[in-house]
C-alpha cells in the first residue's frame, strides 16, 4: 500500500472542498457538481483499491502467516506534540474495520454525490452543497483511518461541523437553523465526555496511539488499576466518557434528540451523514477501542444497556411517526443501537467475540440499505414535495423503480432472507443470546418492531389510499437517472451484501471467523419479522380505521410515543428554563449588577465620600483653623499615646 494513494484518499476531498468553497461562486452549478462527483469517484476507486489490496493481496504487511490480519500504519505524521509521548499524529491506519469503512463511506458518498446532481438541481448554493459534501467525506475518511484517538477526535469534530453545515443548508429556514444548532450542541456536549475520556485515558496510559493501546491493553492500562474516582475505577470512567462521545454522534438515548431534527437537511445528506456514515462513528469508536473495553466489562455492560434501551425506544417511536424521514431517522437510531448492543454483548470469551463481527457487519449492511431507504425517501419527497406520508399513498403505480428499491430496503431492514439485513441482524441476535437470553429476547422483539414500522411506512407510502395528485398540480413520477441509478445500485448491494463472508474479513482479534447461521435464532427472528409484516399488511395495506383504533386503545402510550416520549420538551426545559433562565441569565445579571456594580460602587462611594466631607471646606477661616489645630493635636495625642504610653 503506497503512501500516495492513502494521502490522496484524504487529500482529494479536502482539495475539492477548498476548490469548491473558495471558487465555487465563480463556477456554474453543473461544473461544480461534476467536479465534486468526479473527485469523489476517484476517491472511491482509490479507496476500493486500498481495501482490496488490504483484504486480498495477501501481502505480509496486511496478513501474517497464521492468517491473522495486521494493523498497518501507512503513514503517521506528527501534527502536534504535547509532550514526548502524547503526540497528535495525522496518520492512516489500515486494518479490517478501517478498510471496510473506507468502502462504505466512499460508496455511499459517491452515490450521494451522484444522486444530488439530480436532487439538488437548481438549488441556490449548489456549489456550497458540494463543497460541504466533500468536506464531510474528507472528515469521515480521516476519522476512520485515525491512528490515534486524538486524530479521531479531530475528525470527529470536523464531521460534526460538516454535519452542522449540511443540516443548516437551507439556512433561511428557521427550523433548519435550529436543527443544525441542536445537532451541533448536543453532539458537542457528548464530545465533552469524549474529550474528558481521552484526557483521563491518556493521563494514565500516556499515549494516544490506538495500536499501542489496543495491541497490549494489559500493560498500557496497568496504572489505571488502582485509581478510583467516585466509586468507579478510572478506566471505567474513561471508557464510559469516551462512549458518551459515541452516544452523541450515534444518537443513543438520551443524546439522540438531534437526529430526528437533523432531517431538516437535504435528504441525500440524511442518507450520507445521518444514516450511513457519521452516525455510526460512535459504533466505530467503540469497535476501535474494543480491546480496551474488554478490559472493563462494566463499561461494556453500560454500552449494552444504553443500546438496548435506545433500540426499543426508537423502534416504538418509529411506529407512530408521520414524517417519513423521521420514521427513517428513528429506525436509524434503533439500528445503530443494535450495533451498540452487539458490541456491548461481545466478549472475547464468548463465541470468539461474534458480537463485534456482527456489529461491524450490521454497520456495513445497514449503511447500504438505510442509504437506499433515505435516497428512496428523497425521491419520494422530490416527487411529492412533502415529508408527510399522509400526502402520499398508492405511489407504487407512479414510481415503480422507487417502489421496488424501497421495498428491497424494507425487506433488508426487516431481516428477511436473503437480503443483507437478515444476515447481519442474525449474527447480532446470536451474540445477544450468547450473552444472556434477556438481550436475545429483547433484541428479537425490537427486530419485530422494526419489521412492523418499516412496513407500516412502506404501505402508507405505496399502498393505502391514493390522494388526489392532479389536484396538487402534477403527478409524481420517477426521478431522473442520476437519482435512480444510485437507488438501483444500492438495492442490488442490499440484496447481495449478506453473502459476503464478512467474518473472514473482520473480527475483533482480526483472525478469520467463519459465519454459520444459528438456525433456531434465525428462524425465530424471521418468524417474528414475518408476523410483524403481516400485521402491518393487515393494518395499512388499504385505508381503514384499524390503526386509529389501535392507537386509541393504547392512547397514552401512543401519544407519548408520538411525542417521542417528551425528550425534546425535557431538553427544552433543561436548556431554556434551567441553563438559560436559571444559570446564564442570573450569571449575566450577577455580572452586570454585583460584580460590575461593586466596581461602580467604588466610584459612587468616592463621590459620596467626596460629598460627605465637603463641609470641611466650609469657607470659614475659623473652622479651618479649628480643624488645623484639632488635626495637629489629634495626631500629637495619638502619637504620644502610642509612643510614650504603650
Amino acid at each position: 500500500m503506497d503512501q500516495i494513494t492513502s494521502v490522496l484518499i484524504l487529500a482529494l476531498p479536502l482539495c475539492m472542498f477548498l476548490l469548491l468553497g473558495v471558487f465555487g461562486n465563480k463556477m456554474s452549478h453543473k461544473m461544480a457538481g461534476i467536479l465534486g462527483t468526479l473527485g469523489m469517484g476517484v476517491t472511491l476507486i482509490l479507496a476500493y483499491s486500498t481495501a482490496f489490496t488490504y483484504f486480498f493481496s495477501g501481502s505480509e504487511l496486511f496478513i501474517d502467516a497464521a492468517g491473522n490480519r495486521l494493523q498497518s500504519v501507512v503513514f503517521d505524521h506528527t501534527w502536534l506534540a504535547f509532550t514526548d509521548n502524547l503526540v497528535i499524529k495525522l496518520g492512516f491506519l489500515l486494518d479490517p474495520i478501517s478498510a471496510m469503512m473506507l468502502v462504505v463511506i466512499t460508496t455511499i458518498s459517491f452515490m450521494v454525490h451522484l444522486y444530488s446532481l439530480g436532487y439538488m438541481h437548481g438549488e441556490t448554493g449548489f456549489q456550497r452543497y458540494y463543497a460541504f459534501l466533500s468536506l464531510f467525506s474528507f472528515s469521515m475518511l480521516g476519522l476512520v483511518v485515525a491512528t490515534n484517538i486524538f486524530q479521531m477526535y479531530i475528525f470527529w469534530e470536523l464531521v460534526g461541523a460538516s454535519s452542522y453545515l449540511l443540516i443548516g443548508f437551507y439556512y433561511t429556514k428557521p427550523s433548519a437553523v435550529s436543527a443544525s444548532k441542536k445537532a451541533f450542541i448536543v453532539t458537542r456536549f457528548a464530545d465533552l465526555g469524549f474529550l474528558v475520556g481521552i484526557l483521563i485515558l491518556s493521563f494514565y496510559t500516556n499515549t494516544f496511539d490506538f495500536v499501542s493501546m489496543t495491541s497490549n491493553p494489559q500493560n498500557v492500562l496497568a496504572s489505571t488499576g488502582g485509581a478510583m474516582f467516585m466509586g468507579g475505577s478510572v478506566l471505567t470512567w474513561a471508557l464510559v466518557l469516551i462512549f458518551m462521545g459515541g452516544m452523541g454522534k450515534s444518537a443513543m438515548m438520551p443524546l439522540h434528540i438531534w437526529l430526528p431534527d437533523a432531517m431538516e437537511g437535504p435528504t441525500p445528506v440524511s442518507a450520507l451523514i445521518h444514516a450511513a456514515t457519521m452516525v455510526v462513528a460512535g459504533v466505530f469508536l467503540v469497535a476501535r477501542m474494543f480491546p480496551v473495553y474488554l478490559m472493563e466489562v462494566t463499561a461494556l455492560e453500560i454500552v449494552t444497556w444504553v443500546g438496548a434501551l435506545t433500540a426499543l425506544y426508537a423502534a416504538i417511536v418509529a411506529c407512530t411517526q408521520v414524517d417519513i424521514k423521521r420514521v427513517l431517522a428513528f429506525s436509524t437510531i434503533s439500528q445503530i443501537a443494535f450495533m451498540m448492543v452487539a458490541l456491548g454483548v461481545a466478549r472475547d470469551t464468548i463465541h470468539e467475540g461474534v458480537g463485534y463481527m456482527a456489529s461491524m457487519f450490521h454497520l456495513f449492511t445497514h449503511a447500504m440499505f438505510k442509504a437506499l431507504l433515505f435516497l428512496g425517501a428523497g425521491a419520494l419527497i422530490h416527487a411529492v414535495h412533502s415529508n408527510d406520508y399522509t400526502s402520499m399513498g398508492g405511489l407504487r403505480k407512479y414510481m415503480p423503480i422507487t417502489h421496488i428499491t424501497f421495498l428491497i430496503g424494507c425487506l433488508a431492514i426487516a431481516g428477511i432472507p436473503p437480503f443483507a439485513g437478515f444476515f447481519s441482524k442474525d449474527e447480532i441476535l446470536v451474540a445477544a443470546f450468547e450473552n444472556s437470553p434477556l438481550w436475545g429476547i429483547w433484541m428479537t422483539a425490537v427486530a419485530g418492531l422494526t419489521a412492523f414500522y418499516m412496513f407500516r411506512l412502506y404501505y402508507r407510502i405505496f399502498w393505502w389510499n391514493e390522494p388526489d395528485y392532479e389536484h396538487h398540480g402534477h403527478v409524481p413520477h420517477d426521478a431522473p437517472w442520476t437519482m435512480t441509478l444510485p437507488l438501483i445500485i444500492l438495492a442490488a448491494v442490499s440484496c447481495v451484501a449478506g453473502f459476503i463472508p464478512f467474518g473472514e474479513l473482520v473480527s475483533w482479534n482480526r483472525e478469520a471467523y467463519h459465519i454459520h447461521l444459528n438456525i433456531p435464532v434465525a428462524a425465530t427472528s424471521v418468524i417474528v419479522a414475518v408476523c410483524a409484516i403481516a400485521l402491518a399488511t393487515v393494518m395499512y395495506r388499504k385505508e381503514n380505521s384499524l390503526p386509529d383504533k389501535v392507537a386509541n386503545s393504547v392512547k397514552g402510550l401512543w401519544t407519548a410515543a408520538y411525542n417521542r416520549f417528551y425528550f425534546d420538551e425535557l431538553y427544552l426545559f433543561i436548556t431554556h428554563k434551567i441553563i438559560f433562565n436559571l444559570v446564564s441569565r442570573p450569571i449575566a445579571w450577577f455580572d452586570r449588577h454585583i460584580i460590575d456594580g461593586s466596581m461602580d460602587m467604588f466610584a459612587t462611594l468616592a463621590h459620596k465620600a467626596s460629598g460627605a466631607i465637603k463641609g470641611l471646606q466650609s469657607g470659614n477661616i475659623q473652622s479651618y483653623v479649628l480643624i488645623y489645630l484639632m488635626g495637629a493635636l489629634l495626631i500629637g495625642v495619638v502619637t504620644v499615646v502610642c509612643v510614650v504610653i504603650l
Binding site: T78, W79, L80, A81, F82, T83, L86, I88, F150, I154, F155, E157, L158, A161, Y164, G168, Y171, T172, K173, P174, V177, S178, S180, K181, F184, I185, R188, F189, D191, L192, L195, V196, L199, I200, S202, F203, I579, F580, V583, S584, R585, I587, A588, D591, I595, D596, S598, M599, D600, A603
Partner: protein, 502 residues
C-alpha cells in the same frame, strides 16, 4: 544601539508618529499607517526567521538578541531587550493585528490623524512591552499601551462611551497600581544581600533571591496586576463595556493584543520570577480563572449585543490563558501562549467583522438583524469561520490551543487541578452554544429588516483585513507544531528546576 533588530519595533512606530505629524490628508495618513505596519509585519517575520536560524544553529540561551543599554544608572534601570519564542510569537501577532486594524479603520471619522496617532502610540507600548526584559521599562511600556485607550474609546467610540472608557482606564490603572508595587517589591528583593539590585528579568531569575514570604506578598500583587488586563474574574468587567464602546480597530487591538499583555506579564513576571509562590498560591487563582472560563461563557449566552458576546467570550478565553499558565507545566503553558495567539487573531477577526457589520446596519443588537448571510455573504462566511475558530474547530487555531491547554493541564499530578481542568473543558460546550446562537440569529434565518437588503458586501480593504486574519488563524490551526516548537521555552527548565516537577 541600532544594530539590534528589536529596537526597530519601537523605532518604526516612532517614525510613523513623525510621518503622521506631517500628513496633510487621509490618503497620506493611510499610507503611513499601512506602510508602517507592513514594515512591522516584515520586521517581525524577519525576526522570526532570524530567531529560528539562531536556534537551529544551536543557540541555547534563554533569550536571544539580548542587549542592554543603561538608562537610569543610579537605580540600575536599563533598556534591556531580548526575545524568546513567546515574545517573537507575540510580536508577530501584534504586527498582524496592527496591520489589519489599520485596514479596518480605513474610513475612520472624525479626526483620522489623531486616531492613528493614538493607535500607534498604543502599539509602541505593546511592542515595547514584548521586547523588553527590564521590569521598569516593561512597566512603562505597559502603561503607555493603556492610556491611549481612553481617548480612542472616548472620542471615536459609540454608545455609552464616556462611561466605558473611564471604567476601562480606571480599572486597568487599578491593576497597574498593584503591579507597580509588586514590581518595585521584586526589585528590592532581586539580589542576595550585598549584591547590586537589578530590574533585569533574567538576572532576577538567575539570582532567585526572592524570599518565600515576600513571594507570597509579591506574587498576588503582580498576578492580579497583570490579571486585570487579562480579564481575570472578578476584575473583568471593564472588558464588556470597553469593547462594546470601542471603535473597531481599537477593539481589535485591545482584545487581540492588549489583553495578551496581561497573560504574558503573568507568565513572564509573576510566575517566572516567583515560581514557589506560584506553585503554592496557584489554587486561589485557579479557582478565579476557572470561574472566568465558565462564567464568561455563560454570560455570553444571554447577551444581545454582538460586542458584549464577544467580550464575554474573551473573558472566557483569556481566563483559559491564565488558567493554563497556572498549571506550571510546559504543555499547558505552551497551550496558554498558543491560546493567546489564537484568541488574539480570532477575536480581532470577530471585532473587525462586528465593526464592519455595525458600519452597515448601525446596530449591534442581534435581535434586530438576521439573514445577513444572504445580504453580505463574504462577511457572514468570515463570521462563521471566526465562530468556528472560537468554538474550537480543528484546523483553526482555537482547537489546537485549547487542546494543548486541556491535555497539559490534565497532566498535572494533583487531583484538584485535574478536576478543575474538566470544569474548564465544559466551556467548549457553552462556547458552542453562544457562537451558534449568534450565527443562527445574525447570519442565518430570514432577513429581519427589509432595509438591510440594500446593504453591500465587504470592500477590498475589509476583505484584505479579514482574509489576513483568517489565513493566520488557519495557519496556526493547520501547522500547530511549528508554533508549539517555537513557543516551548528553553528557560522553562529554570522554573521547573525550582518547582522540582516535570
Amino acid at each position: 544601539m541600532f544594530e539590534n533588530i528589536l529596537i526597530y519595533f519601537v523605532v518604526i512606530p516612532v517614525l510613523m508618529l513623525g510621518g503622521l505629524a506631517l500628513c496633510k490628508n487621509i490618503k497620506q495618513i493611510r499610507a503611513v499607517a499601512v506602510v508602517g505596519s507592513l514594515a512591522l509585519v516584515g520586521l517581525s517575520i524577519a525576526l522570526l526567521l532570524g530567531y529560528l536560524e539562531q536556534r537551529a544553529a544551536g543557540a541555547t540561551a534563554e533569550m536571544l538578541y539580548v542587549d542592554s543599554w543603561t538608562w537610569f544608572a543610579p537605580l540600575n534601570i536599563n533598556l534591556a531587550v531580548g526575545v524568546d519564542g513567546i515574545s517573537v510569537a507575540m510580536l508577530i501577532l501584534s504586527a498582524i493585528i496592527l496591520l489589519t486594524g489599520s485596514f479596518a479603520s480605513w474610513k475612520i471619522d472624525p479626526l483620522p490623524k489623531e486616531f492613528f496617532l493614538w493607535l500607534i502610540l498604543l502599539s509602541i507600548g505593546v511592542f515595547g512591552f514584548f521586547i523588553t526584559i527590564d521590569l521598569f521599562t516593561m512597566f512603562m511600556f505597559y502603561e503607555v499601551a493603556l492610556i491611549p485607550m481612553y481617548l480612542l474609546i472616548g472620542v471615536w467610540g459609540s454608545g455609552n462611551k464616556n462611561y466605558s472608557a473611564m471604567k476601562l482606564t480606571l480599572m486597568l490603572m487599578g491593576g497597574s497600581a498593584f503591579l507597580m508595587l509588586g514590581l518595585i517589591g521584586i526589585h528590592y528583593h532581586s539580589a542576595p544581600e550585598g549584591q547590586p539590585l537589578t530590574w533585569n528579568l533574567l538576572e532576577i531569575a538567575q539570582n532567585n533571591a526572592i524570599d518565600r514570604n515576600w513571594q507570597y506578598f509579591l506574587f498576588p500583587m503582580t498576578f492580579v496586576g497583570f490579571g486585570v488586563l487579562g480579564a481575570m474574574f472578578p476584575f473583568h468587567t471593564w472588558s464588556p463595556d470597553g469593547h462594546a464602546s470601542a471603535p473597531t480597530a481599537v477593539s481589535m487591538l485591545h482584545a487581540g493584543v492588549l489583553m495578551k499583555l496581561g497573560g504574558y506579564g503573568c507568565f513572564r513576571v509573576a510566575i517566572y520570577l516567583m515560581p514557589e509562590a506560584a506553585n503554592e498560591l496557584a489554587w486561589i487563582f485557579l479557582i478565579l480563572t476557572g470561574i472566568s472560563v465558565v462564567y464568561g461563557a455563560f454570560s455570553a449566552c444571554v447577551q444581545t449585543d454582538l460586542k458584549y458576546i464577544n467580550a464575554y467570550s474573551s473573558v472566557s478565553h483569556c481566563g483559559l490563558v491564565l488558567f493554563a499558565i497556572l498549571m506550571l507545566n510546559t504543555t499547558a503553558m505552551t497551550g496558554a501562549i498558543m491560546q493567546m495567539l489564537s484568541h488574539g487573531l480570532m477575536t480581532a477577526l470577530f471585532f473587525a467583522l462586528i465593526g464592519m457589520i455595525y458600519g452597515r446596519t448601525h446596530t449591534r443588537d442581534i435581535r434586530m438583524m438576521g439573514g445577513l448571510m444572504k445580504i453580505m455573504p463574504f462577511l457572514a462566511v468570515c463570521y462563521v469561520i471566526a465562530g468556528m475558530a472560537s468554538l474550537g474547530l480543528p484546523g483553526l487555531s482555537g482547537f489546537v490551543a485549547e487542546m494543548t491547554i486541556f491535555v497539559g493541564s490534565f497532566q498535572h499530578t494533583d487531583m484538584f487541578h485535574r478536576v478543575f481542568t474538566i470544569v474548564a473543558c465544559c466551556s467548549i460546550v457553552i462556547t458552542a452554544v453562544y457562537i451558534l446562537r449568534v450565527v443562527g440569529k445574525l447570519l442565518l434565518g430570514p432577513v429581519q429588516d427589509k432595509h438591510h437588503l440594500e446593504l453591500t458586501d465587504a470592500t477590498w480593504w475589509e476583505r484584505l483585513s479579514t482574509i489576513t486574519l483568517i489565513v493566520s488563524v488557519a495557519a496556526i490551526g493547520c501547522f500547530p507544531n511549528f508554533f508549539a516548537e517555537l513557543i516551548k521555552f528553553t528557560f522553562s527548565e529554570n522554573i521547573f528546576k525550582v518547582l522540582g516537577m516535570n
